[in-house]
């Protein structure tokens, strides 16, 4: 059997493709692009919440937030590690991110205006990420699937700490409850956009499904997320900002309103409220760290006896 046959058979049998196996160029490219985009999202995703670490209202919340943001850094690194098994280079991927040649999730281009945003990000943004990521634990590329298993184990804490934070605020003052509602209003629709364009406008999806990189369509996952979120919002006592949201007994799902796909496209194209700032921050961090990386490399070379 040649490489192509082995690949086809591996996919058909629902087994995993491993780094040194033969794979179609398109599969390798798609995998690198998806993993890199995912890694970039984790790394950029540290910023909106990271902004609140020094301003967390208690030591407990600060420790939790610090641990959560550190996890996101870890997720980024697990994923860069998976991308490197395909021949990508971590430094090169970072460069592509900084130069705007590779994307990250549109959700992180929205600002975190109050501490309630930290809670809503945990609840909705990490919640949507979990919906997306759980099926990826069975993705056909072995190193990616294994990274996703590790990530999913850690995500549950992210969502629960956010929900608990919000529940605590809802038991507080009227002003605090208002903050939670306001944050929910701002994050709900962008969270629904995290699942990507509707199936009819998602041309690459069919190939990704055939290669078993993806297991469910964007619209299916989005519906699942809506169905899960409605009772959680009710238990919390907040209203989801969608007048069209109602139970449909015939479909056995919640119906929901039309998503503003123009906004989605604008944000993806770079015109979201925070795109420029997120990239500038990442670029600054890279530049500020350059001398440390160089010094460490020089020190290691010196100790190994090689000329620096």
């Amino acid at each position: 059997m040649d490489g192509a046959q082995v690949f086809e058979e591996t996919i058909a049998k629902d087994q995993r493709v491993e780094p040194r196996d033969w794979m179609p160029e398109g599969y390798r490219k798609t995998m690198i692009r998806q993993i890199a985009q995912h890694a970039h999202s984790e790394i950029i995703g540290m910023q909106p919440e990271g902004a609140w670490i020094t301003r967390a209202p208690s030591l407990r919340r600060k420790a939790i937030l610090l641990a959560k943001v550190q996890d996101e850094a870890g997720h980024g690194l697990y994923l860069y590690s998976a991308a490197e098994t395909l021949g990508a280079d971590r430094g090169d991927l970072t460069r592509r991110l900084i130069e705007g040649r590779q994307k990250y999730s549109s959700i992180f281009n929205y600002p975190t205006l109050t501490f309630a945003d930290v809670g809503v990000i945990g609840w909705l943004v990490d919640g949507a990420a979990i919906c997306n990521q759980v099926p990826l634990c069975r993705s056909s590329y072995g190193p990616y699937a294994r990274a996703m298993i590790r990530i999913c184990k850690e995500e549950s804490f992210h969502q629960r700490q956010g929900y608990e934070l919000l529940a605590t605020m809802m038991r507080g003052t009227a002003a605090q409850r208002e903050m939670v509602q306001d944050a929910t209003n701002r994050w709900w629709w962008p969270s629904l956009m995290m699942f990507g364009p509707p199936d009819k406008d998602s041309p690459n999806s069919a190939q990704s499904m055939a290669w078993k990189i993806k297991r469910h369509s964007n619209d299916d996952l989005r519906q699942r997320f809506v169905d899960m979120s409605v009772p959680q919002a009710e238990a919390l006592g907040v209203t989801l900002p969608d007048p069209a949201l109602r139970w449909n007994a015939e479909r056995d799902h919640y119906d929901f309103g039309e998503i503003d796909w123009d906004e989605f496209k604008r944000v993806i194209a770079g015109s979201g409220p925070m795109n420029a700032e997120r990239l500038a921050h990442r670029r600054r961090a890279d530049e500020d760290g350059a001398w440390v990386r160089e010094a460490a490399a020089a020190h290691a070379a010196k100790r190994a006896g090689a000329p620096a």
């Binding site: 040194r20 590690s81 098994t85 590790r150 160089e294 460490a296």
Partner: protein, 98 residues
Amino acid sequence: MSDDIKHEWPLFEVFVRAKRGLNHVHVGSLRAADHEMALHHARDLYTRRNEGVSIWVVRSDDVVSSGPDDKDAFFAPSGDKVYRHPTYYSIPDSVPHI
């Protein structure tokens, strides 16, 4: 900026022993300037929740592996040696503890 040094740090493979009595298992890779830093980064990256009691790091370019093309040469010869398995031998049911 660091234009000329793209690959400033080499790649290391990380193995973690989850608890006493178990083997070290491969968990992923990371970049570090040297072995010592690789160990510290591995601690931060792969054992944030008591996932391990011991870590190995190995430079990725020191790992030698069999490839998919060697599969038959390497593993086919053991395929027909069924007599290496205990179930190959028939023993009467009446014989205990064997």
